[in-house]
Symmetry: none
DNA sequence: AAACGCTGGTCAAAGGTCCA
DNA sequence: CTGGACCTTTGACCAGCGTT
């Protein structure tokens, strides 16, 4: 009898044949549609897929391509100001079958897919969708960042084959430190050249970004190289700065690098992806660069970079925040280094290369681009007019790329 | 066996055909039949009757018009994959009164009435908020932060009833600025006192945290107050600093506040919750405080604060990151303000209150707590021994709370 | 002018809740 | 633990409305 029942139930599902889609409709028309669709073997046709649950999308809703279910769910959640809780680890799978199993994760995925709660609410007059067109402006992809990162790491000026042995490394003298800095700054330019979005910025903005963030770049690089070590800072040219025993001023910065950057980065066990994103976030910071010509563009690049970082952290709770909170001390240490250099320069304790002076100390040009700059002057003549060797280094970037690079046409908004 | 079931089912189905409309759809033929049948005048209440037990139907469920009882019974049976046995001849009567007497026959009749097990869905998320189920030990809750925030805002030193009119406000002179700063710093202490986790820190750490982040607190508060205004910074005592026309050094800081903090905060339209979290994140930053006794505890508090922030942003794409990226410029501006104050102090341009000197400029005590401090000395005697007025202000906190405050027992991990 | 894209809204039929 | 009266959520479908 038990078998009876089971089989009875099984046979009841005679319409398995055409029930690949939901057998909801009673109307003949729909039945035929359903039949024809089911005859097509391909379930997902790619283009019209819900970003949230991979069900069939019915269009873009609230900023993301989605199905009616996710659309309604999002609207209700926002309207009623719902707060959900995940019963598990906030890592629930959200697909067509399981989308109703965790509302917290579903809503979160709605946001991640790009739904904006401002798009809900009743707005009679639709003042154009702000960024309807290039919704998926996938500029600044993680792969580009990783590639840029690799290209920088691929320039080991010394062929040291990962000789991890600290004792074999020499303590850097002032000249060694400066030499390393110079190399690293040139590598920063190299790094930037790998990012098309950077290359399509105006020359002044390129220079400003590079100059403003050169110190942070140096410190961040030093911190990363020094991750395996406890009592030295490893330079790019394979010299080391010991944490104890060196000159006081130098040691102070080195100690802060170790304490405030190396330690937390080591605890987090930062990945290559994450580091690549972090470098970009530091670099595309518009706030501390007055006089930028297109701060919004740069701000948008940073936004993309930190969204990439968020994705790279794989939803590990708190990790994204911890990584971003590395940046204040990074900036702070960078400032202190610049101060120290400035002082050393003033006291005549060190002779710095003109490139270093220009990038790190902001000397040799106006640190703030002139506001009443002649805008009719094209980059070419600006480049010719500039006598600064750094600016000319940067200018070469535009020469190395076709001027009509696709990225230049990106639609910002 | 299989045939058995099929035949049994088929015959029963036929038997049912004329008595009712089968909502089986799937084939156009069925649809037309259904239509014609429904148009046929059915005697009794037909449509509102449970096909299984003849109780009042509450609608169609799983393919058959049925009552809530049979609906629930069917769902549970399918979900839990129940198999029942009939103790008699599988011919039990299933009506309103006897429907619970044989579950085998009831389920069978459900199928016969047209219920389909495919219509039963997967289990969903709980509607009711998961009850204090193991409520994770949530120190530093958002409510505590909000309350602390409110308590700070509730001390309007001047009874200005939200006079939003800027023109009615007076431009601050140096003395007004200092006065406002002093008030705000006392409010910072007030704010901290509302956070039990802070109060249970050691006295030295409390002092260090307050001192180290006092400048950022001032700037953050000023930025927030100035959100509605475009060309002034509004102080806590209702004076304003105009962005143009004031003294150069002051204006420089004020301009940065407006550009690097007010603007982005306004664009983000920061909420109260988010702001409350941000303040805590700024405050519980251990990196730039050398010599803390329990940096891990503080780091953990910051982690909690930024997890709260993440939750408060409702997962809106990129929002959490944008908020955290306010912090580097905040720190930077704060430093610049301190530098400016330092200079003014050195040049004798301004007389600062000793509290201001101690908190903002780090004068009057060792900025780094003494490492070989006598640990056997209790707070009381420390307080008595300390001649610094700020330290004594902070020490009072511990006096205002029971020493065995629950928060002191929080389990960090 | 008709098709289209993206809002808002509706309600049958899923779901869950919780005491007897 | 199960039943079932009672309430919430889901999502397919439809209607505006502005754009193409």
């Amino acid at each position: 009898m038990k078998l009876d029942g089971t089989i009875l139930f099984a046979t009841d599902t005679e319409h398995f044949t055409n029930s690949t889609l939901r057998p909801r409709q009673t109307s003949p028309a729909d039945a035929t549609v359903s039949a024809s669709v089911s005859s097509a073997p391909q379930a997902d046709e790619g283009g019209t897929q819900c970003f949230i649950c991979a069900d069939r999308a019915t269009g873009k809703h609230y900023g993301a391509s989605s199905c009616d279910g996710c659309k309604g769910f999002f609207r209700r959640s926002i309207r009623n100001n719902h707060t959900y809780n995940c019963r598990f680890n906030r890592q629930c799978v959200v697909d067509k079958d399981k989308r109703n199993q965790c509302r917290y994760c579903r809503l979160r995925k709605c946001f991640k897919a790009g739904m904006r709660k401002e798009a809900v609410q009743n707005e009679r007059d639709c003042i154009i969708t702000p960024r309807a067109k290039g919704q998926t402006v996938r500029t600044l992809s993680i792969s580009v960042l990783l590639q840029a990162e690799v290209s920088v790491q691929q320039f080991p000026v010394l062929p040291s084959p990962q000789s991890r042995d600290i004792s074999s490394k020499k303590t850097a003298c002032v000249g060694d430190v400066f030499e390393s800095m110079k190399q690293q700054l040139l590598l920063l330019v190299e790094w930037a050249k790998h990012i098309p979005e950077f290359c399509s910025l105006q020359i002044d903005d390129r220079v400003t970004l590079l100059r403003t963030h050169s110190a942070e770049h140096l410190i961040l690089g030093a911190a990363r190289r020094s991750l395996p070590y406890n009592n030295v800072i490893l330079l790019g040219n394979d010299f080391v700065i010991p944490l104890r025993g060196a000159e006081l001023e130098v040691t102070r910065v080195a100690l802060r690098i170790q304490e405030e950057l190396v330690k937390p980065l080591r605890e987090l066990d930062i990945t290559d992806k994450e580091f690549a994103c972090l470098r970009a976030i530091v670099f595309f910071a518009p706030a501390d660069c007055p006089g930028l010509e297109s701060p919004q563009v740069i701000q948008h690049l940073r936004l993309q970079a930190h969204i990439q970082l968020e994705e790279s952290t794989c939803e590990q709770r708190g990790r994204f925040g911890e990584l971003l909170l590395i940046l204040p001390p990074l900036q702070s240490v960078a400032w202190q280094m610049v101060e120290t250099l400035h002082l050393a320069q003033l006291l005549g304790e060190a002779r710095m290369d003109s490139l270093l002076q220009e990038m790190l100390l902001g000397e040799g040009t106006n640190s703030k681009p002139c506001a009443n700059d002649d805008l009719t002057q094209d980059n070419e003549s600006k480049q010719r007019a500039s006598s600064a060797n750094f600016t000319s280094v940067v200018s070469n970037i535009s020469a190395s790329l076709p001027s009509d690079h696709p990225a230049a046409h990106t639609d910002w908004h």
